[in-house]
Symmetry: C2
DNA sequence: TATTAAATGAGAATAGTTTTCAACTAATTT
DNA sequence: AAATTAGTTGAAAACTATTCTCATTTAATA
């Protein structure tokens, strides 16, 4: 389906889906494609529009279902904006953090974890069992700084 | 109006409101009271119920308005849960981070910032201008570990 | 190519949030 | 203490976001 020449991201998604016995549908690959191409985080609505541009009519429910599944599979990450909105960005399951431009919502990954050397002893002393952490940096990207 | 004996949190909120020329209504102080008493993060619905218990009928819109305002004023912080839900917790504007129990949604503050010693040079090299960061640790608190 | 389990689209249903506006109230002034 | 006034509230409507249902379609496999 879709295309003959696929980028690594699409192959990666195909592979993850196949391993779980899930289908690589045109809609799912289109979501990957759009997220990958955009270079920034996209809202549900933006993703929906993008998929419709690629495939013609596509149900919004499919986008919701796909993104939820992709998040579980580690194919996308959901970002939380200060205003309560959400953005989605492609991910290959690595432990990366995100620097988000609050103006254009561009996403810039960085793999060094700011909390890498943090001593969790004080936290764990209280019996707390750490599972995960979520770090997001907010600011303005170079372009938006200039434009302002 | 409300109570004769106020805790520091309520006085703090009164003060912040007064400075901005905003009114210290029973509804607003009730929100502070509930957040402070609960010792964990609360959802909008839980806060609404709590305020209704204290004051009798209270509009849900007021809760939304109050929390939005309080967030702007730094009186509450909004937490983002992995499932997309939100929780609110009292704050006095200090720079603290939160450890959140994914089971009971209890919130445990810690003032040491995990990212304190992180070198943002690589980020800033790309022209990114940092404004803020958001860090949240997820896990299970001692009680929920035992209960499981 | 036939089979089958998974996925989709459409729209209804539900949940979450914001807006509007007349009535009300905290804080200030007289 | 009463009058003033600007900010605030409740209620319902309006709007937005998300999930569900089910008949139809499709990817993967045999």
């Amino acid at each position: 389906m879709m295309k003959d020449f696929e980028c690594t991201q699409e192959s990666y998604a195909r592979e993850v889906l196949r391993e779980k016995g899930l289908k690589s549908t045109a809609q799912r690959l289109a979501v990957v494609h759009i997220l990958h191409m955009s270079g920034k985080s996209l809202s549900i609505g933006e993703i929906h529009c993008g998929v419709k541009d690629l495939l013609g009519n596509t149900g919004l429910a499919t986008i919701y279902r796909t993104l939820e599944m992709f998040e579980d599979l580690g194919i996308v990450k959901r970002l939380h904006f200060p205003d309560g909105g959400h953005g989605y960005t492609f991910s290959q399951g690595e432990h990366v953090h995100h620097m988000v431009c609050v103006d254009c919502r561009g996403v810039f990954d960085f793999s060094e974890c700011p909390a890498e050397n943090f001593d969790y002893a004080s936290v764990e002393k209280q019996g707390f069992r750490m599972k995960d952490h979520f770090i997001q940096l907010f600011g303005q990207c170079g372009k938006c700084v200039e434009a302002a």
